[in-house]
Symmetry: C2
Subunit: 395 residues, 2 copies
């Protein structure tokens, strides 16, 4: 999050276009100096924002040069005019950069259903292009924030056959977050050389391991978008299975770091909690139980209250629709066994649990003792500030 974050062959910028009422940065741009392989993952919500519909079409070519992103308005439920505006946003960017508009992707985040302020955006594009620089990622990360309280950037280096390469990711949260394909906006730049189809496959696997394992409020956004661009500048090549796995691990690690930053900065959140379910009949059943616990308002308010109210955890497991044996569930807070065979272990365990609940990060494990199914998701607590933020969001 310092000014030294770069990714070779990429430039970025973030400026104020006047979309947000508070005068903060609200328009960002990432540009690759050369044609980059590109892949993306989008929301599974049937209500999709105009930029999502546009990008889904354009990403099929597997090539991208630039991504323009605004915050403060989601450009969703804006009708035909909204789609015209998304196209115009890309067209003006391409024209000013002197590149083909087919290679420009767009993304938007903010309020749904308000008319899109396209004039403010097109007016700000020339100045934003002047502001492009190789260390502009922090400004970019700031420009895509909505209720986020800090910008989210992760940069890592890897090594492939002696060539050092970089993976730099930027993401934003922090409401309407629920794991379903991709989650909110994330942009990843890398200088490896990789074919679009391999990149697509790698991104899908890394998304499953990262953004699809987090939840803040169980509400899947209409604008969720993850886009990766790979421009080959480092000379590091990802082609065979070994190279692919090496790169995929670094990519998934980068994306998981961003995903955890999103949950920690969830609206009003004070805690990052990993919900682990093991011993389920299948991985799928484990995931159903983990998601139900992770999205339970009663569990999340108890986490906020630092109350080891495991009855709410076991009740959520019981209503999840996945099979559970009512009398043989064990529950751990970190390594402390709180519940054995669905019965509490008493006040000593409660005291240990309270120590854990006071921490900003910890895990809750449910062992269903039925099979080998496993899943782990990240959630946050549900605070008074979540309600305050979301009761007043549009005002």
């Amino acid at each position: 999050m310092t000014a030294t974050i770069i990714c070779p062959g990429f430039k970025a910028a973030g400026v104020t276009a006047g979309i947000k009422k508070n005068g903060e940065k609200d328009l960002g741009l990432i540009v690759s100096e050369t044609d980059a392989s590109a892949a993306a993952a989008f929301t599974r919500n049937l209500i999709k924002a105009a930029p999502v519909i546009l990008d889904e079409e354009r990403i099929r070519k597997g090539i991208c040069r630039a991504i323009i992103v605004n915050s403060g308005n989601a450009n969703c439920c804006t009708g035909i005019k909204g789609m015209e505006d998304a196209l115009e946003m890309a067209r003006v960017t391409a024209s000013e950069l002197g590149i083909s508009e087919k290679f420009v992707l767009t993304a938007s985040t903010g309020v749904i259903g308000e008319q899109f302020p396209i004039e403010k955006i097109t007016a700000a594009v020339p100045g934003m292009i002047n502001a492009l620089s190789s260390d502009g990622f922090t400004n970019f990360a700031q420009s895509i924030m909505t209720t986020d309280t800090y910008p989210k950037i992760v940069s890592q280096k890897g090594n492939l056959d002696g060539k050092v390469y970089t993976v730099t990711g930027i993401a934003k949260g922090s409401g309407m977050i629920c794991p379903d394909m991709a989650t909110m906006l994330a942009f990843i730049c890398t200088d490896v050389e990789i074919a679009p189809d391999i990149l697509k496959d790698t991104l899908a696997t890394a998304t499953e391991r990262s953004f699809n394992r987090i939840t803040i409020d169980g509400d899947t956004s209409t604008n969720d978008t993850v886009i990766i661009m790979a421009n080959g500048c480092s000379g590091a090549v990802v082609k065979n299975d070994v190279q692919k796995e090496t790169f995929q691990n670094i990519l998934a690690d980068t994306m998981l770091s961003l995903a955890k930053m999103i949950v920690k900065d969830g609206e009003g959140a004070t805690k990052l909690v990993e919900i682990i379910v093991k011993g389920a009949s299948s991985d799928k059943d484990a995931r159903i139980v983990a998601d139900t616990v992770a999205n339970s308002s009663l569990v999340k308010t108890a986490l906020f209250g630092e109350d080891a109210n495991w009855g709410r955890i076991i009740a959520a497991a019981g209503r999840s629709k996945a099979p559970v044996e009512p009398d043989q569930i064990d529950i751990f807070f970190n390594d402390v066994l709180m519940v054995k065979n669905s019965t509490g272990r008493g006040s000593a365990a409660e005291l240990d649990a309270t120590d854990i609940l006071n921490k900003p990060e910890f895990s809750i494990t449910l062992d269903l003792n039925m099979g080998t199914g496993y899943a782990a998701v990240f959630t946050c607590d549900f605070s008074i500030d979540y309600v305050k933020i979301n009761a007043d969001y549009r005002t």
Copy 2:
């Protein structure tokens, strides 16, 4: 809710047994003077409290004389001791009343997983039996409250073939409420004469029309129980289809009144909102969309903020997994058309909507314009007080 609420042939009481820390009433009893036909509906949560498991067995005979209920402890996840305690609670009640213990049902509500205070309950039973009176329903209703802010009683009269009969229902909420079979505790007394199998059928239909249509927080309880007793005192007979439908309508109406009282008194709730979905592909799909909107934390916090943020409503519909046409959804607040073909109707409609959102009760209708599927559920808003209540529940 005055002292004049009765149901012929029934007596009730509510006393303080010392289970609740605050010294309020926490033990209640309803007794029928004669053997009553009885039916019940229970939670579908796989984790069931001991009294639910006990009642599921005993209700099969279709006869009940008494129901003893405590608040302050759910007797759930309490192991074999919990089941022994539920049996003991029924046994002592039967012994003191001089009736068969097979005809005594029990119910518990409160914290899950804490050891059950059976000694406090058995010690309080004789005094509670002395306190039984035909106008004791208000005391009973108070004794089963947890986070409820007021007792919930509805009493109605009906007429069958010239015989006047009474239906008196008592219920409690007000957290861990989500429609799935029955919801929390409700007890209904009536003096019609009806066979247990017809009563069971009637109760199931009435439950679908009432308690299964409400949600507060999407969390289905481990203790949900609805029990009806019919003692025949009025001489009104429910036997043929016409009589059954007449009685069923009054019963469903009584239960819906109780269900709406539960939502209005939902933890921290300030509004009662009916979510209506029409024009869906099927009734089932309509219900999926209605439930998703009704349980969305973002929708519910916007309702609390009196913000006509319909983008969150349409986004919830889009992620519900039921089919929707993204471009042809209409949304009404009461009769005001806010959204036509998935696009907002502007600031005049917003102003009208704000007037509606200020009211304590209103409806939101989504017309999917695809078919004839219909569903309607009741929800409440999600307030700062909900978080406060649930962060501190056990302390």
